[in-house]
């Protein structure tokens, strides 16, 4: 696997329409190697679509080009975490973590699976079906499954939005600890999440989509919520978001 290399990913969308509406036109976006990029914006602006374009999942009319700076194939370098934990209800926690092996017809690496299960603190639940576990535990297993894939780029679509506030904060800490060296793209509705985790925070607006000047944050992740600096950034971001939404309403 090519997962230790430093490379950035660039997406170029000449034009992409969905339901006869032009969502993207001459849109460029770069994921910098080893950084966490957060994507915010109003509902239906195209955040998830953009993430799905990176994941190679978006079908529709358009001209999308995704390339890695080292010329490698992106398809085998990404892993995907959705809002829903997407655990298979008929498989145990451990089997869910090693599902990638199974789907690719590889030998099932149980040892590695147990290692990641332990890392997210659920070793004792290895034989439990997802049904038995709480939402937070399930999302931790989804995180372990993502880690198990061992891909350089992790795409997350509102991964923690279904969790309660405290669980969410814990999950953010855990994810940023375990995915420290990965290149991550998070789509989120939560400005605080973006400020805590992102190295670059982007706001998407207008149709066809445009990007605001990103907010860059150099401090180490995850940033503590008590950090006053964070509150300033939070306010700044909220300002950007609400300005765009208000503008959107007037036009």
């Amino acid at each position: 696997m090519l997962n230790d290399q430093n490379f950035s990913v660039e997406i170029k969308i000449k034009e992409f329409s969905y339901n006869q509406e032009v969502l993207f036109k001459n849109f460029n976006f770069i994921l910098k190697s080893g950084e966490w990029s957060c994507l915010l914006g109003g509902s239906g602006v195209g955040k998830t679509t953009l993430l799905r374009c990176f994941a190679g999942l978006q079908t529709g009319y358009g001209n999308i080009e995704v390339s890695c700076s080292d010329g490698g194939q992106l398809g085998t370098r990404i892993s995907y975490m959705a809002q829903n934990d997407l655990l298979f209800p008929w498989l145990t926690a451990l089997e869910n973590i090693t599902i990638g092996n199974k789907l690719r017809g590889q030998r099932i690496d149980e040892e590695k699976g147990l290692y990641y299960l332990n890392l997210v603190g659920l070793l004792k639940n290895k034989y439990d079906l997802p049904d038995k576990l709480s939402g937070g535990m399930r999302q931790r297993i989804a995180l372990a499954r993502t880690l198990m894939e061992n891909r350089q780029i992790v795409l997350m679509d509102e991964p923690f939005s279904n969790l309660d506030t405290i669980t969410k904060l814990k999950m953010q800490d855990l994810a940023s600890e375990l995915l420290k060296t990965s290149t991550v793209l998070i789509v989120t509705h939560d400005p605080m999440e973006a400020i805590r985790l992102g190295n670059r925070v982007y706001v998407l607006y207008e149709r066809p989509c445009r990007l605001k000047q990103p907010i860059k944050i150099d401090k180490n992740k995850p940033r503590q919520i008590t950090d006053t600096n964070l509150l300033e950034l939070h306010a700044q971001l909220l300002n950007q978001l609400s300005f765009e939404q208000n503008n959107g309403l007037e036009t």
Binding site: A82, K102, L103, R104, E149
Partner: protein, 253 residues
């Protein structure tokens, strides 16, 4: 608990039946008293066992073959659009023709032996199994499929490890329905032409005015059908214990 309930229901039916025969004074060749039937049951137990076994074999073979064909057809329907366009109308037509109307033809083609009865049972359960499983295969959670694609899974392994397992609860409901209707196929087949089986025994006894034997055969058939249904149901509930619907069923009981 379920056994006690079944017993109470059974005894109440016997009681009502007994009362009807007493009140209406129906002659035994129209409606025999339950006591007569129980007597016939005991004195003909060998005969009933023999013919019951034949009918049970027909039902089980029909269920197995119908299940296999149903599963294969559903997978084809779910995966190939051409199969959907060509097979779907045939499937619907096959349901529009009453299977009972086909019974004489099947007996003509496949003979008086077991084959025509197995074919009847197969035909009768083929549709519920196919329809239910096909429906289940089409309703795979899209998120699961997305996840599998980002994991570079092949179409074959997506089918095997995701779409089929997630459609198993739907298949299970289809199979439950199939188990309940399969005996109908076997019996109708036997009525049209046979030399063995409970359906044959019933016609035979009817012809000789042995109405008590006829009723005994009817009860044997009901017993087989009910036992089969509950056995299959218990097995399926266990097999798809992960499914939320199953939990609902367990709690309800």
């Amino acid at each position: 608990m379920i056994l006690i309930r079944a017993l109470i229901i059974f005894l109440s039916i016997l009681l009502v039946w007994h009362l009807i025969t007493v009140v209406t004074e129906a002659p035994p060749y129209i409606l025999p008293n339950p006591k007569l039937v129980i007597k016939a049951f005991i004195s003909n137990s060998d005969l009933l066992f023999f013919h019951g076994l034949i009918t049970l074999t027909e039902i089980l073979l029909g269920l197995t073959i119908g299940l296999v064909f149903g599963i294969i057809s559903a997978i084809f329907l779910a995966y190939y659009q051409t199969a959907r366009q060509w097979l779907m109308p045939i499937l619907v037509v096959s349901q529009a023709i009453p299977v009972f109307a086909l019974a004489p033809v099947l007996v003509l083609w496949l003979g008086y032996g077991m084959a025509s009865k197995v074919a009847m049972a197969t035909l009768i359960i083929y549709f519920p199994v196919t329809a239910a499983f096909f429906d289940g295969l089409r309703r795979t959670n899209i998120g699961f499929l997305d996840l599998a694609l980002t994991m570079n899974a092949s179409q074959w392994s997506i089918l095997r490890h995701i779409r089929i397992p997630s459609a198993i609860p739907a298949l299970a409901s289809g199979f439950r329905v199939a188990t309940a209707v399969a005996p109908i196929g076997a019996i109708v087949g036997e009525w049209v032409g046979s030399s063995e089986g409970l359906g044959y025994l019933m016609l035979h006894a009817n012809g000789r005015m042995q109405i008590d034997v006829m009723f005994a055969a009817l009860f044997t058939l009901s017993f087989i059908a009910i036992a089969l249904y509950y056995a299959v149901d218990a097995f399926l509930t266990r097999a798809v214990s992960w499914s939320p619907e199953t939990h609902f069923n367990i709690k309800k009981d």
